[in-house]
């Protein structure tokens, strides 16, 4: 029996402590009995119970793994859907950013359009006098050329 470190065991001899020798012997017996109770038993029943309990614990093993499996699946699903989520997030941000960009482009186009139409007007102003003259010339010569078919056309000079 382990009495390591306990120097109080049996410090009171019978007579001085007031307990009978028989009581002290009984106490020793009681303590020995306690010790015997705790000794591992290798009986058939004990072994059988240990095996049964081991089976119970092991049968629960898959259930123990299940939460980890579910957690792993959730993590995989999240990782797999990350690109989609990123696109979705970008889509929202793009909607917000698209409005000023469109406005910029539109105003740019308008400015350019205005500049182009100004240029056309300027060209028209410049070209207008010449256009009037050529219109007059066209009116003077155009009637003969247009009225006479090529086969009937007269030579521009007299035949020799």
């Amino acid at each position: 029996m382990n009495h390591g470190g306990d120097d109080s065991f049996g410090v009171e001899p019978s007579g001085r402590s007031g307990f009978s020798l028989r009581a002290e012997r009984l106490l020793v017996r009681v303590l020995l009995m306690l010790r015997r109770e705790a000794k591992s038993s290798d009986s058939v029943r004990s072994r059988q119970r240990a095996e049964e309990l081991a089976d119970i614990i092991l049968s629960d093993f898959p259930r123990r793994v299940l939460p980890f499996g579910i957690a792993a699946l959730v993590i995989i699903a999240i990782i797999a859907s990350l690109p989609l989520l990123r696109d979705y997030a970008k889509g929202d941000a793009g909607m917000v950013a698209a409005a000023p960009a469109a406005l910029t482009v539109e105003s740019g186009i308008r400015q350019r359009g205005a500049a182009v139409s100004d240029g056309i007007d300027a060209i028209r102003t410049m070209v207008a006098p010449f256009a009037a003259e050529s219109a007059g010339a066209d009116a003077a010569t155009g009637s003969d050329e247009r009225a006479t078919p090529p086969c009937d056309a007269r030579a521009p000079f007299s035949k020799s």
Partner: protein
């Protein structure tokens, strides 16, 4: 009980789900734990159930076991906690009767022999002696005398100074002697034959 090295190896195997290792741990500690719980609560069925529950919890949590400590310390702490929880749920405790006892295995033929009867008488005396102890004393006596733990080990487990443990042991023995003197000695003659 397993020696520390064997115990460590067995725990490592049990962690991987080795059935034989789990059964080995149970075989080694089932009886001591049941005896400890039985002497704390006085009911063999309850002790058996609590011991079983302790094993289930401890073996399921083997991944968290710190190998610097003894497996038995951890197991007994869990067992004690389960018993305390049970007692809190089931108050008031039906703990007044003298404890019943299984001398060895109840289904052995030896249970009918004179020796077994004598053992039963001593066992009843154990019950009487333990009944006389208050809560920390009973646990200390059981850990020291029944489980063979050292004073240092008990002090560490119960977070008490070693001197306090020794003092509890001394007072506990006096109380047990008083209880034995009162009730046990009268018809104890045959125990010494």
């Amino acid at each position: 009980m397993l020696d520390p090295q064997t115990e460590r190896r067995t725990i490592q195997r049990a962690r991987k789900g080795d059935r034989e290792a789990i059964a080995e741990l149970i075989r080694a500690y089932q009886r001591p734990l049941e005896a400890f719980l039985f002497r704390l609560c006085g009911k063999s069925d309850l002790a058996e159930d609590l011991a079983q529950e302790s094993f289930v919890r401890v073996i399921r949590s083997l991944d968290r076991f710190d190998e610097r400590f003894r497996f038995s310390t951890w197991l007994f702490t869990i067992g004690k906690r389960l018993l305390v929880n049970h007692q809190q749920k089931m108050r008031p405790l039906p703990d007044s009767e003298v404890v019943e006892f299984r001398a060895g295995d109840a289904n052995t033929p030896a249970a009918e022999t004179i020796e077994a009867e004598r053992a039963q008488r001593v066992s009843e005396l154990v019950g009487v002696a333990l009944e006389s102890l208050v809560s920390p004393q009973r646990e200390i006596v059981l850990l020291f005398h029944q489980q063979n733990w050292s004073v240092q080990q008990i002090a560490k487990e119960l977070s008490m100074p070693e001197g306090t443990i020794k003092s509890h042991l001394f007072r506990a023995r006096r109380r047990m002697l008083e209880a034995i003197e009162r009730t046990g000695v009268r018809n104890a003659e045959e125990l010494f034959r």
